[in-house]
Symmetry: C2
Subunit: 421 residues, 2 copies
């Protein structure tokens, strides 16, 4: 999360960083309501307003795939409904709609098809063991969506309104599509530059939509195998690695495919030797430092290179609360957000100081790492429990308990559902 993105810009400052200045301008122009001490004009565009949501229920409901149905593997089976909201530069946000799931009709000149004016969020909705429907820290995803949309030249909006729209949709589709305790569906809020105009320019029209889909299991039962990229680079200082924009994903697919062809699960992305992300997840290592301290280490946010993962942030917070003073039965950890290099990992591995490593994100959740290939050599990463390290196992169980309502926690947000008539 970059809270600075919704900090009052106090007018648009002439900072030397063009994109940062432009993001402040974007928020001032497209969502002046986010600037508490800004000057609101009479001509302010209409804000995104969930209270105006129009409901059009489907008249041809789809059938819910049963476990094992091959369509689940395609990650394309969505639920009966979707949310859409259209923004125009001239008028702001139109009333959002809940409507039957269906294709989008886009002009071949639409900005998103040419210039990657697109951003998204990855979330899950969970059916708790207590029968309740929950989201996990939806406020964090909605705030990050604002960071991403303004970075990619799409309009600003109040994240709280997006959160209300997401809840409205799953309130309708939750009862039918996610009845079974202990299961989840994947949610995908997305925004695209939908106006037709071929000039390389800020989109004058955008469409926000929210869909829910079945997602195949992304576990790596024997641990994730990573292939370090020694030449290809995912993100760069002054770029956009911190934003969840399409431009971070498409360009990484070739290297990811090559990693799979060589027998690995994901690319471990390096930047000048520094470890950044694992595939599209954050990367954590637990090691014993040369000074003998047991540390949980992950890349920092301050270079704006890596995604500010909600799972990453939650793991760091839980580890700080529960793993730093021996309460867990495991050796206490020092929690460290800092840059570290692949050479640091190799040294630690050669010294036998690596305790475990894992990738963390919404899609892969907390996924133990079994091996990292670097310069044609496999580093074996210990997994104390056979298929996971102890710390990853513990953190994963805590998060699971919050998501499915076994632990009452402010991060597990219960969503009231709509009874079908």
């Amino acid at each position: 999360m970059a809270p600075s993105a919704i900090t009052p810009p106090h007018g648009v400052q002439q900072t030397s960083e063009l994109t940062t200045a432009a993001v402040a301008r974007k928020i001032a122009e497209t969502a002046p309501e986010l600037i508490s001490n800004g000057v609101k004009t009479e001509m302010a565009p209409r804000p995104l307003d969930a209270s105006k949501l129009k409901f059009t229920k489907t008249t041809s409901p789809m059938s819910v795939p049963q476990p094992g149905d091959p369509i689940i593997m395609t990650a394309s089976q969505c639920t009966d409904h979707m949310i859409t909201a259209v923004w125009k530069a001239s008028t702001g946000w139109a009333d959002p709609e809940l409507r039957p799931y269906g294709n989008l009709s886009l002009a071949p000149t639409a900005s998103v098809l040419h210039y990657a004016t697109e951003c998204f969020e990855g979330m899950k909705m969970y059916r708790g063991f207590d029968g309740k429907l929950r989201l996990f820290r939806p406020d964090a995803n909605c705030k990050r969506m604002l960071v991403s949309s303004t970075r990619i030249s799409l309009p600003a909006f109040d994240p709280a309104e997006l959160e209300k729209l997401i809840k409205a949709m799953i309130a309708v589709d939750g009862p039918k599509w996610l009845p079974k305790p202990g299961t989840f569906l994947y949610l995908r809020p997305t925004m695209i530059g939908s106006g037709g105009a071929l000039g390389v320019a800020t989109p004058k029209e955008a469409t926000l939509f929210v869909i829910a889909t079945f997602m195949p299991p992304l576990d790596a039962p024997t641990g994730m195998r990573l292939l370090a990229s020694t030449n290809g680079v995912r993100a760069w200082p002054g770029g956009f690695g911190y934003a969840k924009v399409g431009a971070n994903y498409g360009p990484s697919l070739m290297a990811n495919g090559e990693a799979r062809a060589r027998g690995y699960d994901q690319v471990l992305w390096l930047l000048n030797g520094t470890v950044t992300e694992a595939g599209a997840s954050n990367f954590f290592v637990v090691w014993r430092s040369k000074e003998g301290k047991v540390q949980l280490v992950t890349a920092p946010l301050d270079g704006k290179i890596i995604l500010d993962g909600v799972t990453r942030r939650s793991i760091l917070q839980l580890a700080r609360e529960r793993l730093t003073s021996g309460q867990s039965g495991l050796e206490s950890l020092e929690i460290v957000e800092r840059n570290f290099t692949m050479d640091d990992l190799v040294d630690a591995a050669k010294d036998g100081r690596i305790i475990e490593a894992f990738a963390a994100g919404t899609a892969y959740f907390v996924c133990p790492v079994a091996a990292i290939n670097y310069k044609d050599e496999d580093l074996d990463i210990p997994m104390a429990r056979g298929n996971s390290g102890d710390y990853a196992h513990l953190v994963k169980s805590w998060l699971t308990n919050i998501m499915y309502g076994k632990e009452d926690h402010e991060w597990g947000v219960v969503v009231p559902e709509v009874e079908d008539k």
Copy 2:
């Protein structure tokens, strides 16, 4: 152009650069016909085949906007027809179609909307002063489209087939939509990941389309004013700056908008101080070196940072042929493709050694640069003819003559047209 992209991969080598290896694999798998000495299998997917083009003419022809019609400024008015061709991983390319221009219907889960699996080309069709319809070096654009599509995980194809499809479309729409000598329309071949599937994975379906549109004039009558980006970066080593993929454009829009808000036309993109591109165009400077040589200097291709512009390449070739031995009446140039820094430009400006500068690309053509702002200081760039330097003026006139048939040249490719019945 990176001819290496269509060089036989001799099997897929285990090179350390994952993306390069993956591109070779992609070509082997999706367009084995491009590998002259590769092993063709019985199961090879169907290649893109322009000879199979199906024609479905429009039954509701649109009216052609007249000069001054405001729709021209929107860059969204297309011609009556478009080309589409759908590729599937399982079967290869279906028969391409020429069909009435209209919206695309895409699943909300389509890869292009989330992961920027998209690439395009920018070309123009010219109505010559001799009445003939021409393209400018279409083979170069079609080959670059292959470089881009494989970089972004979309399928390979024979560039010659794409060129035939483009010609087939403009043969139909040229007579009605581009009747007036000395005018042009903009052409946009595009490929998108069109299959619906939310996993971060190589698209299993893609759609190639070609549209033609009116484009407002992009001249800067008093010269282009550039604002150097001291922090933000367009592209980086190990990235994808050389490919014409959407992911290079959307992320640049915020900085470009900020430049406009500050009274400049485009961003001059730097990478660690090195000058790379001007907006979405290549950048050239003519200066007198410290040793007294008059040089035409532009950034090199070998770092894969900048786009291999067709206009850039053409200017370099014409300059080598016509400006290196005094034939033109102007002082002879030394042609230099090398890295140079913003500090080099500042030094040259302070010494009075800059002769002129210009941006070059299909959209902006050859556009003289009047000023560059760097660290809050404007460098004035000379324009010997008032609104252009001498070299830019001469090169632009040569290119114009080739495009509009005043000079018979192999780069100006005449397209036979279809008589309307």
